[in-house]
Symmetry: C2
Subunit: 454 residues, 2 copies
């Protein structure tokens, strides 16, 4: 099958292979530009760099200034019937903890077939693969068979506030027949993961305060310890059965429907491999099989992302801390409203006697889902099969989060995500990486979708 169809698109693949060194350099160049949104580090430089790449491939590109970081917006309008949009982000997570990296997180070194860099998998690799696909397609055919929009924000790692605001005030900028979502992985069997939805998120910080100054710990007998208060408060939020104990928290949570259940059952998930890679004996509650996948995809979470109080350096400082802080993210499923969950959390703490614990919250985002039966989504599914004959794995609900609800679902645009990561890409963690071969295939995949969508 590939043979005949290939007469058309194989030239693009060949061009990609012939120019892959250049495409790898483009990505290294992008990864070498730090762009840590929550620290406002390298943001302007990264935005301009991305704009420059868009202009280089012939897009009409500009920076949309916002109250936060600029959004890079690019358009290649070929007066075609169909419009495909690419949603990506040029920002990355902080590289902390530095000492766990085997190399400089912004050196973008290639080691044993992998590019190791903060942002390589999330999501500069996917972003650059799309830019390269457009470049290659045009080089081979002179023009594109569809209209293309690039929508590239700089605050994905810190809540996507500005791009949500833009989608609210200027929805026409986002109009498209299909949106290719930021990111995804290729599995060890070579199959692409296609993501059709993602969880929502509510990220909060809880702050407990004690005396107005750190004290000698001998005072622990009579002075309230905010670290203990925070422990007791947290203990009321989730139990060792992984049940979130906030009244009403699960009210909007729905079981997967029949179609979703079938996809879930078919979905492969390398349990042993994942456990071995992470050095673990089992998943939570010793879950396996469909139950495990359902927990991952269809259940909301309450995760401690960070906790700090008092002295945590070397040795044994005997101090009674004056403050304790914890960062928690709730990953939400469809119909859970971040603002309502925040309200339930406040009420829960008050009810349990923790009115003194302050909640600092971000706005949060809703979960989003795309119908796997949508005709354009089916075209993407077909494209992965054409590319290398392997069935993709459909992820109904990516357990991570993003502004898909605001940018797509709310505007009636179906969304599907794929990318260039791998199961051990270590997103948000030290030694983030992608395989060079996955990057090159990611360029081909994007080119195939561009071709097939026409």
């Amino acid at each position: 099958m590939l043979k005949e169809w290939g007469t058309v698109v194989e030239r693009v693949y060949r061009f990609i292979e012939e120019n892959k060194e250049m495409y790898i350099e483009w990505l290294q160049n992008l990864c070498r530009q730090p762009s840590v949104s929550i620290e406002n580090r390298g943001i302007e430089e990264a935005a301009h760099l991305v704009k420059m790449y868009l202009q280089d491939i012939g897009a009409k590109a500009n920076l949309i200034e916002t109250k936060g970081h600029p959004i890079v917006y690019g358009k290649i309008h070929e007066e075609k019937e169909r419009t495909l949009s690419f949603y990506n982000h040029y920002d990355v997570q902080p590289e902390h903890p530095m000492e766990m990296w085997d190399c400089d997180p912004f050196a973008a070194e290639i080691k044993e077939g992998k590019l190791v860099a903060r942002g390589a998998a999330d999501n500069k690799g996917a972003l650059m693969a799309r830019i390269c696909a457009v470049h290659a397609y045009q080089k081979v055919y002179g023009q594109l068979p569809i209209n293309i929009k690039f929508i590239i924000e700089g605050e994905e790692e810190s809540g996507s506030k500005q791009i949500k605001e833009l989608a609210r005030t200027q929805p026409e900028l986002f109009k498209a027949d299909l949106c290719i979502w930021e990111n995804g992985i290729k599995n060890e069997d070579g199959s692409f993961e296609l993501k059709l939805g993602n969880k929502g998120i509510l990220y909060v910080q809880l702050v407990a305060k004690g005396a107005n100054v750190d004290l000698h710990s001998s005072n622990g007998a009579i002075i309230e310890n905010p670290a203990w208060r925070l422990i007791w408060a947290l203990n009321t939020l989730k139990n060792a059965n992984e049940e979130i104990l906030i009244d009403g928290f699960y009210d909007q949570v729905q079981k997967p429907n029949e179609v979703e259940k079938q996809i879930l059952e078919k979905m492969e998930f390398e349990e042993e491999e994942t456990l071995n890679r992470l050095g673990l004996k089992n998943f939570v509650l010793n879950l396996k099989g469909t139950e495990l996948k359902e927990k991952l995809m269809f259940q909301p979470t309450c995760t401690i992302c960070g906790i700090h109080s008092g002295y945590t350096g070397e040795g044994s400082k005997t101090v009674l801390p004056s403050e304790a802080r914890v960062k928690i993210d709730f990953r939400l499923v469809p119909n859970q409203v971040p603002k309502e969950i925040l309200q339930l959390l406040r009420e829960h703490l008050d009810r349990h006697g923790f009115s003194d614990i302050e909640i600092i919250a971000r706005e949060g985002s809703y979960a989003a889902k795309t119908d796997p039966g949508h005709p354009l989504v089916m075209k993407v599914i077909e494209a992965t099969k054409k590319l290398h004959g392997i069935e993709p794995r459909i992820i109904i609900m990516n357990p991570g989060s993003g502004p898909m609800y605001n940018l797509c679902q709310q505007l009636g645009i179906p969304a599907v995500g794929f990318g260039v990561g791998n199961p051990d890409s270590r997103k948000h963690a030290p030694n983030e990486n992608i395989f060079i071969r996955d990057y090159v295939e990611g360029i081909k995949m994007a080119a195939t979708v561009i071709h097939d969508l026409a």
Copy 2:
């Protein structure tokens, strides 16, 4: 009364007043030498500096090398009947958190009548006051009326391991009729606190481990979170009623006896003032009066000194941590054995399903008590009254810890502690300070005790 008695000792006081600028400079000089034992920072330099001061006042001084930090040992042997020993330490706590200091913690600046420096109160002020007292006494009278020993260790802030070992192997070095313990405060009414005992301590670190690498927090649905495990484990250790829930923990704890109860009831404790200073509304469990004092002096504690897991910087990093650590100190009362408490803790964690949580423990130390009716202790009590006519406040049991059991009680030496701190000295905390006037009076107090002990 002071008048006649004063004919003898008033000349020493006068000498101290006339030379106080010099004595203040000596202390500033010592405080400017960082000596953070748990970071092994400035230790050798500080030990040599102290030895030099001892030699300057005519002591036969040397450094006793150990497997850890050296012990400064000094002796002025006047062939007298009585021997008084001074126990102090030249090490200090780390200055963390730096950003909370109003000035450089090692600049030893004088501000509004206070010397602000790490170690000023704990316990370089008291140490130097004793050196100055010996200096002044000798300058006035040519010789001392008693023999003096200085025993000055460099690991008090990290468990006093080496000096305990020295007391075990060379107890003759410690032999004395009375030991003046390291430290203490003067209250706002001008009264000295005299400490006749201190709590023991067991300091542990608990470590929970999850995946071998930090993960994206979306994995929180299925991957065990060591931060949550630590929360659940900690929650089993102590409840919101401040009860320590380890089986057998209270078995050796005794109620105060009648004499102790009387001293406790007489003991003044500025509740309102303390609360106001710390910005608090109440003490734990809303305790007041004798109950509050009994809790502070006679009850063991379980205090979180520090907890850390995951990302704790600015903003909202969505990470599932691979590890969580907590530092806890248990302040122990007489008859509680650190090693046994450690064993009870291990059994408790195992029994509650937390065998996976590792305990890293230091050796710990026993609580110690000196009989308030001992004739030499009574001489010290009398000395404070003579000095300025104000009754001292007797602290049967200092809620802090130290090696008093090993260095004194076990060797049959009564111990009493006093010093130059104040109720807001901020020991172990930012802006540690002493009043210059308290330092000068501390020199006089030490001189008085030297004089009266003869």
